[in-house]
């Protein structure tokens, strides 16, 4: 019997589910291995009987917690896909603002009609078994994780920073170019894709386990950068992780 899989999305851009559509021919191969029973973005049918649930997006309001808990109850394995789901991602920028104020300026007198609370990754609400990091996720990494899960193995996720991959790719360091980069503390696995394209690491895969903060501080001092520079960039993606430290 093929394992039954389902896809769900919460507050996010659905760019990660798009990466699954972007598998193109490989998607056909994948469909040979699993039975998709729920994927609102592409199919009308829906079933609550599934083994693996892939969840994209952050939890941003109390009313969404019930839906998440129900998915947890139904699924044997829950996989968070994309930064919004794995680390809270860019949604958490607003956590540093007064949410009532934000809501009032947005909806005026109708503010009460629209619930919201601090944006958070889904493991702040339910237990998550596996993670596919990135904004957006990398298609190959997604396939690797799926393969591992189908084989009953725990997916292998790098525990070293992006700098390791970036050096291997022989990039000119962003700091040497006068730019701020969060690669030194960001979890690798993306093959330093953004720096390869001529920009910086923005931190979308989240803080690496045990980030070397002293090394980051040394970098700041060496390049004459301020803590404000660092905090600004850290808050792009690390908002939730920083608030839990």
């Amino acid at each position: 019997m093929k394992p039954k899989v389902a896809f769900f999305d919460f507050a996010g851009c659905e760019g990660d589910q798009l990466q699954i559509a972007n598998l193109e021919e490989e998607l056909l191969t994948l469909l040979g291995q699993v039975k998709v029973v729920s994927f609102r973005e592409v199919m009308k049918e829906h079933s609550d009987n599934y083994d693996i649930a892939f969840i994209e997006g952050s939890c941003t309001r109390l009313q969404d917690e019930d839906r998440l808990k129900q998915i947890r109850k139904n699924a044997k394995i829950v996989v968070a896909i994309g930064s919004c789901a794995t680390i809270g991602g860019i949604n958490c920028i607003r956590n540093y603002k007064d949410l009532d104020e934000v809501r009032k300026t947005v909806y005026g007198e109708n503010a009460k009609l629209f619930d919201t609370y601090a944006a958070r990754p889904i493991d702040a609400v339910i237990t998550v078994d596996a993670y596919v990091h990135g904004c957006p996720i990398d298609r190959d990494e997604f396939l690797q994780v799926v393969k591992s899960l189908l084989l009953g193995k725990k997916p292998d996720i790098p525990t070293y920073p992006v700098c390791v991959e970036c050096k291997k790719n022989e990039n000119v360091c962003a700091f040497e170019r006068g730019q701020f980069c969060v690669g030194p503390v960001t979890r690798a696995g993306c093959n330093s894709c953004c720096v390869n394209e001529g920009t910086i690491c923005w931190g979308c895969r989240g803080l690496v386990d045990n980030p070397n903060e002293n090394a980051q501080k040394e970098v700041l001092i060496k390049y004459g950068l301020t803590v404000d520079d660092a905090i600004g960039k850290f808050r792009l993606y690390f908002g939730w992780q920083e608030s839990k430290k």
Partner: protein
């Protein structure tokens, strides 16, 4: 009348991007309720970007939508560039137009092949089609992959582009990469024609329905406007993009987390059909020919024909991309330094960027202080502009299908919503912020 009492409640309409609901109640043949509302969680982007630096905004607002992240990035960059009087080279302009073509193709093909085709083939998703119509599905996948390869070639990746930055590009493709890709585009034309034939053979399943409305799109005298232009209304003529607020007039509907817009009438429509209605003459030759296959010409008031207008646009995207690559080759592609970051003189100011993205006209409007920190932001999303029109179409369509079964009514209404290709993540994630 077959159905004196009908209750349709479709929570989370499938095969659209994001969460939207349809509510219909009919009592003794009288329509008591017919509503389209959005339940997607809001994300407050316009509030999130306040306090952020000028060279981060395009990165953040790209995340409004995964499907049209290139369009959001471009509208964002153009707003920042307008605010700081930043100009880009003619070469970069052509490359950006290629980026937009790539995304338009990707998004339209995804919509037509994955989301619309199942309705026409009488199935619930593209998955059964992979066994029953493998040849057709592979043709769709080929076109989709081509479009994604083109995004990667120009932008560094398919979703949330990296190379597009204020003032130009951090990295550009080589002329060989471009001319190699030109061949792929040329070779994809038979596949496009095959998809057109497929839709031609099934298009009779789209309801024969029309409701007069206003169309709004960018327009330019000498090209099918996508990257830039003036705002044009089918009712009131043209105006510069800086006057966009007098067109969009957004308002809140309490039942819905997405705002709506109206201009000369109760609602208006943006997107491929609006563009085609306003700029038909500027379409590429083959695009016009494909439109002719479906007898699609201005002014078409059938919203279901937005699907066909998307198909026509994909053909235009391919032909115009070939033309742009030819021009880049003829001009000789200028190389630029690695890790390029154009020198920008940061200044205070306000700028509006308007770009036609797959689902219609998109506005980003930013105000910066002298340090280049964003102090105000407003984004008006295509799907928000369409929500009002969708609901009015629904109210007009419903009485015409009341004699059908509840299931058929449901399908007609869902097909109507899908025809607009609504991007609900976009439309709720960008609630307008009122600034005091």
């Amino acid at each position: 009348m077959k159905n004196s009492n009908i209750d349709v409640e479709i929570h989370h309409v499938t095969r659209v991007e994001g969460h939207g609901n349809i509510y219909v109640n009919v009592r003794k043949g009288v329509i008591e309720r017919c509503e389209w509302n959005i339940s997607e969680a809001p994300r407050f982007f316009e509030s999130m970007v306040v306090g952020r630096q000028w060279d981060e905004l395009h990165h953040i607002t790209s995340r409004i939508c995964g499907i049209c992240s290139i369009g959001h990035t471009l509208a964002s960059l153009r707003a920042t560039e307008a605010a700081m009087n930043i100009t880009i080279s003619d070469q970069d302009l052509k490359l950006r137009k290629l980026a937009l073509h790539a995304e338009n193709m990707q998004s339209h093909i995804l919509h037509l092949g994955f989301l619309v085709l199942p309705d026409l083939m009488g199935v619930g998703s593209v998955i059964p089609l992979a066994s029953s119509n493998l040849k057709e599905v592979k043709t769709v996948l080929l076109l989709h992959r081509n479009a994604n390869e083109m995004s990667t070639l120009i932008c560094g990746r398919t979703t949330h582009p990296q190379r597009l930055i204020p003032g130009g590009f951090s990295k550009i493709p080589s002329i060989k990469e471009l001319t190699d890709f030109r061949k792929k585009l040329q070779d994809s034309i038979p596949a496009l024609q095959a998809v057109a034939e497929l839709f031609k053979s099934t298009a009779h399943k789209f309801p024969d329905f029309a409701r007069e409305t206003e169309f709004i799109a960018l327009t330019k005298p000498d090209e099918y406007a996508l990257y830039d232009g003036d705002i044009a209304s089918s009712d009131t003529g043209t105006a510069p993009v800086t006057e966009y607020l007098s067109f969009t007039n957004e308002y809140i509907v309490p039942i819905s987390t997405a705002k709506r817009a109206k201009h000369a009438r109760e609602s208006y429509m943006v997107g491929a059909l609006a563009r085609l209605n306003i700029n038909f003459e500027k379409l590429s030759p083959l695009a016009k020919k494909i439109a002719g296959m479906f007898d699609l010409k201005p002014v078409c008031h059938n919203p279901f024909m937005n699907n066909i207008a998307q198909l026509v646009e994909v053909v235009h995207n391919v032909e115009d991309s070939i033309r742009l690559i030819d021009e880049l080759e003829a001009d000789g592609l200028q190389r630029q330094p690695d890790y390029y970051k154009p020198e920008i003189k940061v200044k205070a100011g306000r700028g509006v960027g308007a770009t036609e993205v797959p689902r219609g006209l998109l506005f980003h409007d930013y105000t910066y202080n002298e340090k280049g920190v964003c102090t105000k932001a407003n984004c008006v999303i295509p799907t928000n502009q369409n929500h009002g029109n969708i609901e009015l179409d629904m109210k007009d369509l419903l009485p015409k299908v009341l004699d059908k079964t509840e299931k058929e009514i449901e399908l007609s209404l869902e097909m109507l919503v899908r025809a607009y290709d609504p991007c609900i993540s976009c439309s709720t994630h960008c609630i307008k912020v009122h600034f005091v």
